[in-house]
């Protein structure tokens, strides 16, 4: 029953988004749809307004850094193939932003994913659709450095304002870079 419903949702999402859906995958009952980065607000609006989907509740929004994932893949390939071939391959976008949506009517869940390349870290802000995107977007900016265009108060959330780095990036060491030694209290 549950799996049947999930299949149905997949088709409905595909029908709703058309060419905007780059890929729709299902894993353990979770549906993920990947969409182009520049169309994200349009897509979220479509998903919210389609009468057979109505994804009107934003559960969460967060970033993922895929740097290590690609490194590992390259290492594996390196054993099998020549190193030159790899250099020619275009590197996939480093970051991704996930939107967890839920429909209040049918209780279905959907994950919308966009890829964000390292050289252009800008995404349209979802705060125009949901107020709930406020802090998650600030945290995403804080932790990964992804800037959300149109956010009215995009500043660091969990780290202090003068913090120079983005700690959840994979190239940031677990023990930090010693920022706490240069910490100074800003005037209130």
């Amino acid at each position: 029953m549950r799996w049947g419903l999930a299949m149905d949702l997949k088709e409905r999402v595909e029908r709703c988004l058309g060419s905007d859906a780059l890929s729709i995958t299902e894993y353990r009952g979770d549906i993920t749809v990947e969409v182009p980065r520049r169309r994200i607000i349009m897509v979220l609006k479509k998903l919210r307004e389609a009468s057979d989907l109505e994804f009107d509740f934003l559960t969460d929004l967060f970033g993922v850094d895929n740097l290590d994932l690609y490194k590992k893949k390259k290492k594996k390939k390196g054993k099998e193939e020549e190193a030159e071939k790899e250099a020619q391959e275009p590197t996939p976008p480093r970051f991704e932003v996930n939107y967890l949506l839920q429909s209040l009517k049918s209780n279905e869940r959907l994950r919308v994913k966009i890829q964000v390349p390292e050289d252009d870290l800008e995404v349209e802000s979802a705060t125009v659709l949901w107020k709930a995107a406020d802090w998650p977007e600030r945290e995403c900016f804080d932790m990964f450095g992804i800037r959300f265009k149109g956010h009215y108060n995009l500043k660091r959330l969990l780290m202090w304002d003068e913090f120079p780095d983005h700690p959840l990036r994979k190239d940031y060491p677990l023990e930090g870079k010693g920022e706490e030694r240069h910490f100074h209290v800003s005037e209130f």
Binding site: T32, D56, D60, A132, R156, L157, L158, L168, Y172
Partner: protein, 379 residues
Amino acid sequence: MVQEPNGPVVSGSGDYVSINIGPSHPAMHGTLRVIAQTDGETVIKADPEIGYLHRGVEKLGENLTYHQFIPITDRLNYCSAITNNVSYEKAVEKLMGIEVPVKAQLVRIIMMELARIADHQVCVGILGVDLGAFTPFFYQIIQREEIYEVFEWYNGARLTNTFGRIGGLDADLPEKFAEKWPGLKDGIRRANDEMDKLLTHNRIWMDRTIGVNPFSPEDALAWGFTGPCLRACGVKRDMRKNEPYYLYDQFDFDVPTGKHGDVFDRYMVRLKEMEESIKIIDQAYKMYLDMPEDAPLKAKVPKIIKPPAGEVYSAIESPNGELGFFIKSDGSDKPYRIKIRPPCYMIYQAFPEMVQGEMIADLIACLSSLNIIAGELDR
């Protein structure tokens, strides 16, 4: 002067006075800081600053194995650590495609509901303390100690119970639970009755809570509210009913709701929810007793957990609302990315909108009734 409700407080604007409340203030629950701009005693704008308890839990998770992360989840919502443990374990189990044995599910439900009661007891007790009613707090905290006794029997820990294992449980419900539960149940009900008598129809209490920080259901949903704070606004949503996990669809219980989403409604919803939790434990314990003695408590799980590459999101209804874990695996023995979706994170971001135009004393009441736990807010 009109200011954006959620923008930063601009110091030195107009005749308003900026007041710094917290982070070290007894009413700010540990580490919360609010910079409030005030006109007399009215809050014109409040700007919460969080991150004082940020420990990098998500980064830590990427560097620990799947089992090593369970004790870290204790430190999220430390008032109900068991719910955090179960939520994380459930996410990893979903990632690996493991079905937990029925007996383990029942024990998990019993312990989670006990944790829910303990969490609500702290919340309503502290709400009273913050508003000047000290006595009911003791009635509640005495009963919470009794609940912690059950937790202590289970594995020795009272507050940060590293409960369960991935795939099930390592130990059965303590044997003494059978004789403890009837007395514990009566105790919880008695404490709630006493609190009800002392507070609910108390003139001062009603003046301080009814109509304070009302929130509309539309706003609450737009801000991503879940749990008792959403139900207090009149939206009947509970993951245990809407998306039943484990055996919750077999139990008979109500989802109490409020009407106006004010401090009083949040208090009442929590008070009523404790009664519903008692009902669930009664039914779950009855089912548990019907199970054969040697029923398995743990599914077959490899010693070193290496889930296949993939990503899942799994959530449960924690005492504060939807507590979810997003886990991305790259096939190794450590999670590639863990994202925790804490319920009070979403609730607290609406705080400026809730307290705008209220008194400073109501700001404290509002904060207390939302049950913001810094541990899961800052992670």
